[in-house]
């Protein structure tokens, strides 16, 4: 059992505030991912939970106990660092057993736990090597093994895969998920890689400039972004954003006019929006289709053929850059003129402050 509660957590360096009041509840066995651009404070927040950074204000609860003044050694958490931070002068066995040795666990039990973790992580042949004689992937495993043997309440991961190559990263992602299932532990994972966030998280916390922008399941964030920042940050290629003007505002639909003059009725509740207000229309690249009868005339500037997918980078009226994602191959070439259709149900509307207008129907997969 391990639940965490963050209440208005703040961190300042001098007069410079880097974490500006974070409220968050993390349930037992949840896999939570902190994601955001570099400098958003996600690593600082993780280090505050770990106890490596002092908490300036607010409260951090672990299992209902305030731990603000408890040192990292006594919080019962384990952390995997981006640089792995293995002890260079110790063998793999000593690295993994160090915490148990400090906790005065008898040698026999220590060995049993280390061997068990080594078996799970396929590190058995390397137990007597030193970190410098291991590959990057193996070091990564040792770092994870060091965390596992302690059977901590919560695992903290600080961008653990960013030093690995792409193939290994994909493999480790799967292994971490398997581990999460096997260990039934609470995990908090920091990354700037949204693929890691999308594939691993039960719950994603999107951070920007020390504030939480949105908390939700991966598909929740994908299909119901709360604001322009989350809409632009989650999803690759990025969501297309177009300036539009509200024409008819209703509770179930808002009709907006594009720069080119066409009107689209988007299922969204207008709220305080008035006709004539400037809004932003967001549409993901897969929400645009090539349609000879479509309302938007564009010029193709670049075609990226990924085999299973084709990405068209096009220019619309008003010098607007758009990206279109098409399943499979597509014969369209650069510099061609094509027409696009928009799926109104796939559109998002954002008001002037960047907040999303609520969509009446939840996406079936976004719980």
């Amino acid at each position: 059992m391990a639940t965490l509660t963050l209440r208005d957590l703040r961190k300042s360096y001098g007069s410079f505030e880097v974490i500006k009041g974070v409220d968050l509840a993390i349930a037992d066995r949840e896999f939570v991912v902190f994601v955001g651009p570099s400098g958003c404070g996600k690593s600082t927040l993780l280090r505050m939970i770990a106890g490596l950074e002092e908490i300036t204000a607010g409260e951090l609860d672990i299992d209902g106990k305030v731990v603000n003044r408890v040192g990292p050694a006594d919080r019962g958490l384990a952390m995997v660092f981006q640089s792995y931070a293995l002890y260079p002068h110790m063998t793999v066995r000593q690295n993994m057993g160090f915490a148990l040795r400090l906790a005065r666990v008898p040698k026999a039990e220590r060995d049993r736990k280390v061997n068990e973790a080594a078996r799970v992580l396929q590190l058995e042949p390397y137990l007597d090597r030193r970190p410098k004689d291991l590959s990057g992937g193996q070091r990564q495993r040792v770092a994870i093994g060091r965390a596992i043997v302690r059977q901590p309440k919560v695992f903290l991961f600080d961008e653990p895969l960013s030093n690995l190559d792409a193939a290994l990263r994909g493999q480790m992602r799967m292994e971490l998920l398997r581990l999460h299932e096997a260990l039934k532990a609470t995990m908090i994972y920091v990354t700037h890689d949204q693929i890691e966030a999308m594939t691993m998280a039960d719950k994603i916390v999107v951070l920007q400039a020390g504030r939480v922008e949105q908390v939700g399941s991966p598909l929740d964030l994908y299909h119901h972004p709360a604001n322009l920042f989350v809409a632009g940050f989650i999803g690759s290629p990025r969501m297309n954003m177009m300036p539009v003007t509200a024409a008819v505002v209703g509770d179930a639909a808002v009709t907006v006019g594009l720069v080119s003059g066409q009107q689209i009725a988007v299922p969204a509740s207008g709220g305080a929006t008035r006709p004539g207000d400037a809004l932003t229309l967001g549409i993901r690249p897969e929400g645009l289709h090539i349609d000879p009868a479509g309302p938007i005339l564009v010029t193709v500037s670049l075609v990226e053929r990924l085999g299973g997918l084709t990405l068209l980078h096009v220019k619309a009226a008003g010098d607007q850059d758009l990206t279109v994602q098409i399943e499979g191959g597509d014969p369209t070439r650069a510099h061609e003129q094509i027409r696009l259709a928009i799926d109104p149900a796939a559109c998002h509307l954002f008001d002037k402050a960047g907040q999303a207008l609520p969509r009446p129907a939840r996406h079936t997969l976004a719980a």
Binding site: A73, F81, A85, L86, Y87, P88, F98, L102, R146, R150
Partner: protein
């Protein structure tokens, strides 16, 4: 970049010249110690070696007692300095504040003060505390004398240790003492060793405090040499024999630890 043969020849010649110039006085001293007083006064390269001076020196003073004082005081001073410097350097390297840099520079600046400037106050303090002519007194003064250098050296070694390794230790349950003992010290052992070696050599060779604060009981080898220089200043052979015996232990010690010493002193400078 690869040096041309001519450059290498030049560098080698320069190196040997410097080495010979530095070594010559020691060579001459050892040579003189085996001469008779007559040969020593009129410098002669060819002479018949004799142990006469050594015999005289041994007859006149208790070499072993002086040497033992030197060992105890040097080792004691070094251990005491390390005992204070390790925590000091740890806190400055890993928990720096705005004033850390200033503190370090201030510590170094104290080395620029001429020791004689504080001789009288220290002498009076020692007299009141009953520390005159005691090993304890010299251990304390040597530790204080070397502390700035020892802290500085340890600080630079500690700076090379990635903070994350210590943080990982903290996450693993290490407290400050266990962190220093199990992680920091093993990781910086070559550095700590060469710092200790340097401190040992500086203590061994120190003459100002040992001459002024000891008389007979706690006098180290520097006082032993001095005792030959004042009344018998003209007896070069005996003086040389005493000096040779005084520097021999540390010379041999330095010879065996020079690898460690060079490694430590150039640490961080060459990657």
């Amino acid at each position: 970049m690869r040096a041309s043969p001519l450059q290498r020849l030049f560098a080698a010649a320069l190196g040997w010249t410097v080495a010979l110039v530095l070594f010559f006085p020691i060579f001459w001293m050892v040579l003189t110690s085996f001469k008779s007083e007559g040969d020593a006064i009129a410098p002669r390269l060819l002479f018949s070696p004799t142990f006469e001076s050594y015999r005289d020196v041994f007859a006149r003073a208790d070499y072993v007692a002086f040497a033992l004082n030197s060992v105890v005081i040097s080792v004691g001073g070094t251990v005491l300095a390390l005992l204070f410097a390790i925590p000091a350097a740890y806190s400055m390297a890993f928990h720096p504040t705005d004033r850390t840099r200033g503190t370090l520079l201030w510590m170094l600046s104290t080395k620029m003060l001429p020791p004689v400037g504080v001789l009288v106050p220290i002498y009076l303090l020692f007299r009141s505390a009953g520390l005159l002519d005691t090993r304890t007194g010299l251990v304390a003064i040597y530790a204080l004398m070397n502390l700035p250098i020892v802290v500085w050296m340890l600080f630079t070694f500690y700076k090379e240790v990635p903070n994350e390794i210590l943080e990982a230790g903290r996450m693993d349950g290490a407290r400050t003492l266990t962190e220093v003992w199990f992680l920091l010290l093993p990781l910086t052992l070559p550095g700590v060793a060469s710092t200790g070696l340097l401190s040992l050599i500086l203590c061994w060779n120190e003459a100002f405090w040992s001459l002024n604060l000891t008389s007979a009981g706690a006098a180290p080898l520097t006082a032993f040499i001095a005792s030959f220089s004042s009344p018998e200043g003209l007896f070069f052979a005996k003086l040389s024999a005493a000096s040779t015996m005084a520097v021999a232990p540390i010379l041999v010690f330095g010879w065996f630890s020079q690898r460690q010493l060079v490694q430590g002193l150039t640490f961080g400078a060459v990657k």
